[in-house]
């Protein structure tokens, strides 16, 4: 079924309907906590941004990670200054997602430079590049809109490396006269990159996906899985009431465990769980959980699990973990579209079959 996919159209669809953010006027910008003052330039007054994050900046980052109002943090596109830049100062280009903007500016203490914020509809650089909103057209148009040619005398702009999927550097140069230099992947390396004369080491050019990087995503994965958890809880409550005339916390816990394993534990422990397909990793971890529940029930230190319930667990729990773990492909930094399609061609039918078998068995289990 996945064969007929219009593959070239697959982009992350989290924000399709987000409107463009208009550039803000001086008065609106002056009200932002991160705007310290304004400096005059040939094209008008430019806001100077603070390189220090306030408590409210950190709080908004925390809220974003837990999915509270996550998409409403945008920066008005346009040109900003750090310290007192001049016509020879470097120009850094970034997205208008507030977290990206914050992680950039807080690394720029002691620098004097320009920041050109593109309208990426509040999306981070890499995802926006994949969608094309961090793209060739936007780079060219935004440089023209702010009058960059009159502000700097050089003809060079520094783009984040992860913007490259959306930008054709040679095209930008041909049409605007500005040469694109791709900076490092991570904002933390920008001072070293600037100090080295716009040279990035090979380490600065690689994306990482370390334990701590994955841990930052776990909260969002878990919040994303809550809607599945609610649906499952509703079904379980209904089944519990109709079939057993009871509502017991213990009936929910195996499923809650499988959801946490698939959405949080597998992402955190990703490289240490066997298998390459994410769904396989999830299924194995979910199976381990299921066997733990069955063994615990048999040995008497967990509520008893009869053979019928064991079969139901085996058919439902690993699938649940596998499905959620498969979703983590979108948050990982190394899965390809072709790979995920290949994985899903095998995994999705297997998961559907397991759920169908589980439902049939559960129905029949009242008669055997």
């Amino acid at each position: 079924m996945i064969k007929e996919l219009p593959l070239e159209k697959i982009v992350c669809g989290c924000s399709e309907d987000k409107p463009a953010t208009p550039p803000a006027g001086r008065q609106e910008l002056a009200g932002r906590s991160w705007v310290a003052e304004f400096i005059p330039t040939p094209t008008g007054d430019i806001p100077v941004v603070s390189t220090r994050l306030t408590l409210s900046d950190r709080l908004s980052a925390f809220k974003v990670r837990w999915g509270v109002g996550r998409m409403s943090y945008t920066i008005p596109p346009g040109l900003y200054a750090v310290d007192r830049p001049g016509p020879h100062s470097p120009v850094l280009v970034t997205s208008n997602y507030k977290l990206t903007f914050d992680s950039l500016r807080r690394r720029l203490t002691g620098q004097a430079l320009w920041i050109l914020v593109l309208d990426t509809r509040g999306i981070n650089v890499w995802c926006a590049a994949g969608k094309g909103t961090f793209g060739t057209e936007e780079v060219i148009n935004r440089m023209a809109a702010v009058g960059l040619r009159e502000i700097v005398s050089h003809r060079k702009v520094i783009l984040p490396q992860l913007g490259a999927p959306g930008v054709a550097a040679h095209e930008v140069q041909k049409r605007s006269g500005f040469r694109v230099v791709y900076g490092p992947v991570r904002a933390e390396d920008i001072p070293a990159f600037l100090a080295a004369g716009l040279k990035a080491s090979s380490d600065m050019r690689r994306v990482r996906f370390r334990f701590q990087d994955r841990l930052k995503l776990v909260s969002m994965e878990f919040v994303g899985s809550l809607k599945y958890l609610l649906a499952i809880a509703a079904v379980l409550a209904l089944v519990g009431l109709l079939a057993y005339r009871r509502l017991a916390a213990w009936d929910f816990l195996p499923y809650l465990g499988a959801v946490i394993i698939g959405s949080s534990l597998v992402p955190a422990l990703l490289p240490w769980i066997p298998g390459r397909p994410f769904s396989l990793k999830g299924a194995l971890a979910g199976l381990a959980w299921t066997l733990f529940l069955i063994a615990g029930g048999r040995l008497g230190w967990l509520p008893a699990v009869g053979w019928k319930l064991a079969v139901v667990y085996l058919l439902f729990l690993p699938v649940l973990s596998a499905f959620l773990a498969m979703g983590f492909t979108g948050s990982s930094t190394f899965t390809s579209l072709s790979g995920v399609v290949k994985e899903m061609k095998t995994a999705v039918p297997l998961m559907a079959a397991s759920v169908a078998l589980g439902a049939i068995f559960f129905g029949l289990s009242f008669f055997i």
Binding site: C127, P165, H170, R206, V223, V340
Partner: protein, 92 residues
Amino acid sequence: MRYLSQVTTLEYKAALCTGCGRCAEVCPHGVFSLDGRKAILGDKDLCMECGACFRNCEAQAIQVRAGVGCAWAILRSQWRKGKGDQAACCCE
């Protein structure tokens, strides 16, 4: 970390390469490196098909079907034609 082997659609025609080095500059997984006057394709299985090299290759020596390796996006594009659902995806 590695994902599935032998799945990438990445193709490189060395004969067309002008040695500008953009591919090595933009690849987040070090698949391309520059050896003097030509780019060298290294471990293809590390490719995630982000399309950065392909888009920045003026000589058109690189081809790849670029896309996002996201299961939710694939499911969504299949079942809902990609309309507005807010799933946890790559949008950190």
